[in-house]
């Protein structure tokens, strides 16, 4: 089988990941073992989309709970991956599949259809989507931009909703 040695985690990598994502050393090692157990093909990536471990960690980093001390560290540095804005961006990208920075009506419909059972007819779903866009859209372009998305969710406790406590 392929050389597993190349996929073993090296110290420098752990350090890099730590800096980038904010996970602790033990969390990274634990998640790495989880990654390898998911990675059935042993080629260092998950599934055909070739998510490697770095990508895996980066995604997971969005879900770290927000800690207070991070806010004060370095105002000029770019935000850590698990900041509120980044969490919202993650959610935004779940809708916005074509990455045009807008959630169009169709994209919204697609997601809605996935989230909902078969009992809702298309026209009902369509009206719900319309209502959603109508509520959020402030500049009248019939789609939701990221800023509008942020604004809509300002009252929602996103930090808590999009957080998992990772085991050490």
């Amino acid at each position: 089988m392929g050389s597993r040695a190349s996929t073993l985690l090296r110290e420098e990598e752990i350090e890099e990941i730590k800096k980038e994502t904010g996970f602790s050393h033990s969390q990274i090692t634990r998640l790495y073992s989880r990654f390898t157990s998911l990675d059935k093909g042993e080629n260092g990536t998950l599934r055909e989309d070739q998510v490697n471990f770095r990508g895996f960690m980066r995604t997971l980093a969005h879900f770290r709970p927000i800690e207070d001390n991070e806010k004060n560290k370095n105002p000029t540095a770019s935000e850590p991956l698990n900041s509120r804005t980044n969490k919202l961006l993650f959610a935004f990208h779940l809708y916005d599949l074509d990455r045009d920075d807008k959630i169009s009506r169709d994209e919204l419909l697609q997601v809605l259809r996935m989230m909902v059972g078969v009992n809702i007819s298309d026209e009902q779903l369509g009206s719900i989507a319309d209502r959603t866009i109508q509520e959020a859209d402030t500049n009248g372009d019939n789609s939701i931009s990221f800023n509008e998305f942020i604004k809509v969710l300002e009252k929602v406790d996103v930090e808590q909703k999009m957080s998992i406590r990772f085991l050490h």
Partner: protein, 802 residues
């Protein structure tokens, strides 16, 4: 005005009952210690009614034999009175929110007590040690144990145990020691109370009973973490209190406390609690195992549960272990397995009876609290009592603060100050404190003082804190559960985020926050379920479970709707709605509300979301079964459709069938409709006694019948205010389709049609109830359809089938 009249009627009844009780004579004064129960004692005082004439010789025809039935009669009348009162209270939803029910019970007790006082009666004190601990406490604790949402409890187990255990200990010792310090001050004249006695007293009053607040919390949608902590704390603090009570009781006899005594005390404490735990778990497993074999004796299934729980309690008492822990653990352990093994009816019976018994016990206790307030000998000592009140508040507040401080770093969602305030403020004392105080042994010199103080504390906390809690909660802007979001956007996006987080958790291999739970679930699936759950083939167990869930669900929905039969729209009006709704969409508030309804009904829920907290006075609200049911129904329907059934026919048949099984639309269409009970009857008969080779199909077809009833029932229930766009899309195919379909002649459809015919025939005036003939052709399908659907994998109910 209808309500007004009934309310007046109820009040009238209450007053009559009161005057009836006033007429009762021959009250009891038992010796309040030792194992002596009630000794009837005739009090031949002023008494018109029950002036008993044991045969005086003249009227041999008309005799009154009061002493014989005295005790049961009194208890029955008390219970009846309290229950009338409950009916009265619950007439106004607002009252039960503003004023906790315990307040009202105590008030009633106070009223009756004052009547008795003025009539110079002695109250029947059923609070001997034996009666309380052996008869009144177990139901209350069993109920708390049985209805805890187990998953949430274990997710927060650290916090709960921390608050309960350490909090109660902190409270007891804090209050005890500070009271002892107060006692040293001669001015109050309580110099003779020793440290042990103070500690004993403190342990009594640190039993918190905040469950009354849960009603309020839920109404205000306080965040769930707080609710679960409140619930868990009340249970476990009972445990701790009883243990401490027994310990200190024992210690109080001694004059001097040595260091070894303290260590011994700690060791004893741990031993007692763990012993209770073990007993509870053992009995829980035995009970679960027994129910595996009870399929032939369905009627007495609940009996096993009760007997085993009670047995756990008694055996733990036998070995001087913590019986409260035992019964709670027994309930927690066996609930999951038992509810899978027993029939639907036994399940319902079980729940209802548990609630009922607990309600009885609690009512009686609070009632007597009210009475005892008036009628016992009080020893009032301003200093002691005021300081007790002060210390109770102070120590609880301090306790919550300190404990939260220590606990918060370990929690994902830390407690804010508002949470802490709410937690501290909702420390009502309740039934257990009173009962423990009342059953203090007599060698404690100042027993009356203790009783008085306890009563004072309970009254103050229940009334003042109970009533002011609600405005305060509103004021402090506590973190709400986010369940009632006002924009569609927020709702959709939040649900999406929840799905995402659930997915990520699955990827990381964690459920919620606990690695151990994952391990336990695996152990459970592999080993425990095989032993404890009745042996069934995989498919049928899923389907039977599915059926049971639907039945539960359908019953819930029907219960809701049955109150509104007249308000449910008829088919004709639905038809018209559809026409009118084809106008272009104007987004009114009403429409938004409907959208919310649609979304909340139809969006798949995440497993963590459905929480069911139960107050002592209501059955759990299981909205998750509803979700599962709808989801599975969809998946099965989709798979059926893919097997060649005419799509419109199937879906309309489904919709159509929702009607006859219940009441709302059926009432308009046919005079004779099948009652819900019959449906249930048929259901259980089909599934349970028949170990036919294809148990699959029968339950499979029944879902088609029941679940749409769930759907439309839910919808018709909600759309009673007029707009019914949701049902409208089905209405056009309602009438013509069934006729078309009943003539179908392929073997599959025929058998299916056979099955379905009784239903739509019930719709029409002629009403036959053809026995359900499970179509054999369907035997093959469930296996394929059911197991392949990922939606059917529910960690909560199903073992993972991989």
């Amino acid at each position: 005005m209808d309500v007004g009249i009934t309310r007046r009627g109820v009040l009238f009844i209450i007053l009559t009952a009161l005057s009836l009780l006033h007429g009762l004579r021959g009250e009891v004064l038992p010796q309040p210690n030792g194992g002596v129960t009630i000794i009837p004692h005739i009090n031949p005082e002023d008494d018109p009614q029950a002036s008993l004439e044991p045969t005086k010789g003249n009227s041999a025809l008309f005799k009154l034999n009061y002493p014989r039935i005295q005790i049961p009669l009194e208890i029955t009348l008390w219970m009846l009175l309290a229950s009338f009162a409950k009916i009265g209270f619950n007439m106004y939803h607002k009252i039960t929110i503003w004023v906790p029910e315990t307040c009202l019970l105590i008030t009633l007790g106070l009223i009756v007590g004052s009547i008795m006082y003025f009539a110079n009666e002695e109250p029947p004190a059923v609070h001997t040690n034996t009666v309380f601990f052996l008869y009144m406490l177990p139901p209350i604790v069993l109920e708390s144990g049985y209805f805890i949402p187990i998953r949430h409890l274990f997710e927060n187990i650290g916090t709960v145990v921390w608050f309960a255990l350490v909090g109660t200990l902190w409270n007891s010792f804090g209050i005890g020691i500070s009271l002892f310090a107060i006692c040293q001050i001669d001015a109050f004249g309580v110099h003779d109370i020793s440290l042990q006695e103070n500690l004993l007293f403190a342990s009594i009053i640190s039993a918190v009973d905040p469950v009354a607040m849960l009603n309020l919390f839920e109404d205000v949608s306080v965040n769930e973490q707080l609710c679960i902590v409140v619930l868990g704390e009340s249970i476990f603090s009972d445990v701790v209190t009883v243990v401490l009570y027994n310990m200190f009781n024992f210690q109080a006899k001694k004059e001097v406390v040595k260091a070894t005594d303290v260590l011994l005390g700690i060791a004893e404490f741990l031993e007692v609690v763990f012993g209770g735990l073990i007993f509870g778990i053992v009995f829980g497993f035995v009970a679960a195992f027994t129910t595996r074999f009870t399929s032939k004796v369905r009627e007495i299934e609940p009996l096993f549960i009760f007997m085993f729980s009670y047995l756990a309690y008694l055996i733990a008492e036998l070995f001087s272990m913590s019986s409260v822990t035992a019964i709670v653990m027994c309930a927690i352990t066996m609930k999951y397995y038992v509810e899978e093994n027993v029939s639907q009816r036994s399940c319902t019976t079980l729940r209802h009876v548990i609630k009922m018994l607990a309600s009885i016990s609690e009512t009686l206790i609070f009632f007597f609290l009210g009475i005892a307030t008036i009628t016992t000998e009080h020893e009032w000592n301003w200093g002691y009592i005021l300081f007790t009140l002060l210390f109770a508040f102070v120590w609880r507040g301090l306790g919550v603060l300190v404990l939260t401080l220590i606990m918060n770093p370990f929690r994902t969602i830390p407690f804010t100050f508002q949470d802490q305030f709410a937690l501290a403020y909702c420390g009502l004392r309740g039934a257990i404190s009173f009962a423990l105080a009342f059953t203090l042994p007599d060698f404690i010199g100042r027993k009356n003082l203790f009783v008085t103080t306890t009563i004072a504390l309970i009254l103050v906390t229940v009334f003042i804190q109970g009533i002011t809690m609600r405005p305060l909660i509103g004021l402090i802007n506590i973190r709400k559960t986010n369940r009632n979001l006002y924009t569609i956007n927020a709702e959709i996006h939040c649900r999406l985020m929840d799905h995402t987080v659930a997915g990520i958790e699955d990827i990381c291999g964690q459920y919620g926050h606990f690695y151990w739970k994952d391990k336990f679930m695996r152990f459970n699936d592999r080993i425990l379920r095989k032993i404890l759950i009745r042996d069934r083939r995989a498919e049928s167990s899923i389907l039977a479970l599915y059926k049971k869930l639907e039945l539960q669900n359908a019953m819930l929905i029907l219960d809701v709707v049955s109150g509104d039969i007249s308000a449910a729209p008829s088919i004709i009006s639905l038809y018209e709605e559809k026409k009118s709704s084809s106008k272009p969409n104007k987004l009114l508030a009403v429409e938004v509300k409907k959208m919310h309804d649609i979304l909340s009904k139809n969006m798949y829920k995440i497993r963590q979301q459905a929480v069911s907290f139960t107050s002592k006075h209501a059955l759990p609200n299981d909205s998750q079964p509803r979700e599962i049911v709808i989801r599975r129904h969809n998946s099965i329907r989709r798979s059926l459709q893919s097997h060649g059934f005419h799509r419109a026919g199937v879906s309309t048949i489904h919709k159509y069938h929702s009607l006859p099984a219940g009441k709302s639309l059926g009432s308009k269409l046919s005079p004779g409709r099948r009652s819900h009970a019959d449906v249930q009857e048929n259901m259980s008969e089909v599934v349970y006694p028949s170990r036919t080779p294809s148990p699959g199909p029968a339950p499979l077809s029944s879902p088609l019948r029941e679940v749409p009833s769930v759907h439309d029932r839910g919808k018709s229930g909600r759309t009673r205010h007029g707009m019914s766009r949701t049902s409208s899309s089905y209405s056009d195919s309602h009438v013509p389709a069934p006729r078309r379909h009943s003539k179908s002649s392929t073997s599959d459809k025929n058998s299916a049609g056979n099955f379905r015919e009784p239903h739509h025939k019930a719709e029409e005036p002629e009403q036959q109830q053809r026995p359900l003939s499970p179509p054999t052709a369907w035997a093959a399908e469930p296996k394929d359809n059911v197991t392949q659907h990922p939606l059917l994998r529910q960690p909560q109910w199903n073992p993972k089938k991989m």
